[in-house]
């Protein structure tokens, strides 16, 4: 056996080892998190929220191939749903789970409302119009003071609780977010594998040919916008509950761009990639905090480097959750 052949034979086993290692590290991190100081748990909570946002946006960008730069609008819809329905602002104090349902439905509705006017747009045009949509939502929030508190935002939000269990400390949110992220990831992954997911991929590859095989692209795209926005909105509601304060500052264009970057750097169309992308873009700035403004430069360089060496992302589309599971447990 030549060296090349034996290397080739060894490869599956070693990549299986890598898969196991990654899996073990993830489990260890999860197990260790509750014992960390609150500051670190908050960072991890925010990481999980970004992963959730990434999973949502990836449905539109990664699966369906539509560049949506206004995703933060849905995040805002969810956050303000919680802020208005569980605070002294309107003197409403609905239960957390009820608000999650309301936020999810409002998210789906706004997703479709955004989807309808942009159905005919693709590429740059779509990016610009969705960007405008995100800004419009933020500007509206900024200006309807009587409802949203304007730039001051809404403070003193209720403490969340689920079935009598209070969700208030960072570690409570950690467990909640972990469950929600796993659920959202599972739903997104199973959607991708479903017949609808195949249709999304076909639309991404060639929209016109997709119509030619009988796909109602209008419905398929609206389904993508709706599920994506639902996840974004749920992330917003949990975010608001964890901060117990919302203001328009959290929903700027920069946030949308950050989520897009996470997806592109991590691996477009791949949930595993989103986790990697979020880890880099959310955790690294924390780690580099002491280097102050240098960290922006460093992050920029890292991004350029990654785009050059791994143009398909850290974990490319072809290495999706199916592959990981097969590596870990299968054949």
């Amino acid at each position: 056996m030549s060296v090349a052949e034996s290397l080739a034979a060894a490869r599956p086993r070693s990549s299986r080892a890598v898969a196991f290692l990654v899996f073990a590290v993830a489990i260890a991190l999860i197990a260790a998190t509750p014992f960390l100081p609150n500051y670190y748990i908050r960072v991890i909570d925010s990481l999980l929220i970004y992963i959730l946002l990434g999973i949502g946006l990836n449905i539109v960008i990664g699966y369906t191939g539509l560049l949506d730069l206004g995703f933060v609008a849905f995040y805002a819809v969810g956050a303000y749903s919680y802020a208005l329905l569980a605070s002294p602002q309107l003197d409403l104090h609905l239960p957390f789970l009820v608000i999650l349902l309301v936020a999810a439905s409002l998210g789906a509705i706004t997703g479709i409302l955004l989807g309808i006017p942009v159905l005919r747009l693709r590429g740059d045009y779509l990016a610009i119009v969705t960007l405008g949509f995100g800004e419009i939502v933020r500007i509206i929030i900024n200006n309807v003071d009587w409802l949203t508190g304007g730039p001051k935002g809404i403070a003193r939000l209720d403490k969340a609780s689920i079935l009598g269990i209070q969700i208030a400390r960072p570690v409570d949110f950690f467990w909640l977010l972990l469950v929600v992220v796993l659920l959202a990831g599972l739903v997104a992954w199973r959607l991708e594998r479903s017949i609808l997911g195949k249709a999304w991929a076909a639309i991404r590859e060639d929209q016109d040919a997709a119509r030619g095989i009988g796909i109602n692209t209008t419905n398929a795209k609206l389904a993508a916008f709706a599920t994506s926005a639902t996840i974004g909105s749920i992330a917003g509601a949990i975010f608001a509950a964890s901060q117990r304060f919302v203001s328009p500052e959290s929903f700027t264009l920069q946030e949308s761009v950050l989520i897009v970057l996470m997806i592109v750097i991590g691996g477009i169309g791949n949930i595993l990639g989103i986790v990697a992308g979020a880890a880099i873009l959310i955790l690294l700035p924390e780690v580099l905090r002491e280097f102050a403004e240098w960290r922006i430069l460093f992050l920029g360089l890292l991004m350029i480097f990654l785009i050059i060496v791994r143009p398909a992302g850290i974990v490319p589309r072809s290495f999706g959750p199916d592959k990981l599971i097969r590596r870990l447990f299968g054949k």
Binding site: V187, R190, L191, R193, S194, I195, L196, K198, A199, A201, A202, R204, E205, D206, D208, A209, A210, R211, G212, I213, G214, I215, N216, T217, N219, A220, A223, R317
Partner: protein, 276 residues
């Protein structure tokens, strides 16, 4: 008489691409559409499949007006097509390219597929079984998991035809299926197209390769400058001086038409090699 063009017309600004064409196509037969470059052959296919709108006249399949429908609705009425320039879903596997064709019948079960894995795998197995059957028919079973865009040109042509056939269409429209194929591949394609013939299916083939057309077609339509110049059996077409004139101006036998097709093939061969 199940597919009917009635005074069909297509104008692109000043250009009249299809000029009042009336024709009908019976099921169970293979219909060839031939004619020089720019005669309007692709335009006919594109209008029938809903890629282009109709300027005037009508297209009806089994009495149902296709020209009033959206493209995806036309597909769901049993119309399947291939394109003059291959249009596969490049980053999807060969198998997925066919699987996605079951969208219209299966999309209603999407949420059930998401929440109930046994249902999802049952549906997927069902779909894939049908797809594998077609892939085997086109000798593509060994490439099921290869990305469509990475397949050799000839295989891509076959895969596109497989995709058109997977949902058992009532009307099959093929736009230059043999373009860019070598002799061996063309012979193979001819045999496969003959084998897919079924009493319920209307097959329409636009093609420059006269050997293929003459061998395969029961009925041939000759287009010239957007007009229907001639319609008849292969023998009648070969005997027609009108057809020869249309093709080469001075042509005096079918060999010249063949030569024109050869030229065309060479031309496409170069183009496709550059493409891939």
């Amino acid at each position: 008489m199940t597919l009917v063009f009635d005074r069909l017309r297509k104008e692109y600004g000043q250009v009249v691409a299809i000029d009042d064409v009336t024709a009908s196509f019976a099921p169970g037969l293979i219909h060839g559409v031939i004619g020089p470059n720019g005669a309007g052959k692709s335009t006919l296919i594109n209008m029938t499949a809903g890629s282009y709108t109709v300027s005037a006249g009508s297209i009806a399949l089994d009495g149902k007006r296709l020209d009033k429908l959206k493209k995806y609705q036309i597909a769901n009425s049993g119309v399947a097509r291939t394109y003059q320039n291959i249009r596969l879903f490049d980053q999807m596997t060969a198998l997925e390219n066919l699987e996605v064709c079951f969208y219209p019948s299966d999309v209603g079960g999407t949420w059930k597929e998401v929440v109930w894995p046994p249902y999802a795998s049952a549906r997927r197995d069902h779909r894939r079984e049908k797809c594998m059957e077609i892939l085997r028919f086109f000798d593509l079973q060994g490439h099921a998991d290869a990305e469509a865009g990475s397949l050799p040109y000839g295989r891509q042509r076959m895969l596109e035809i497989a995709r058109a056939l997977v949902c058992n269409p009532r009307l099959l429209l093929l736009d230059e299926p043999a373009a860019g194929l070598n002799h061996h591949e063309t012979a193979d394609l001819t045999a496969k197209l003959a084998a897919q013939r079924s009493p319920d299916r209307i097959t329409i083939i636009v093609e420059h390769d006269m050997d293929l057309v003459m061998a395969l077609c029961d009925n041939i339509i000759v287009m010239h400058h957007g007009k229907l110049l001639f319609q008849g059996t292969p023998a009648e077409v070969q005997a027609s001086t009108d057809v020869q004139l249309a093709y080469l101006g001075t042509a005096n036998d079918i060999d010249d038409i063949r030569a024109a097709a050869q030229d065309r093939r060479a031309q496409l061969g170069i183009r496709t090699r550059r493409r891939s």
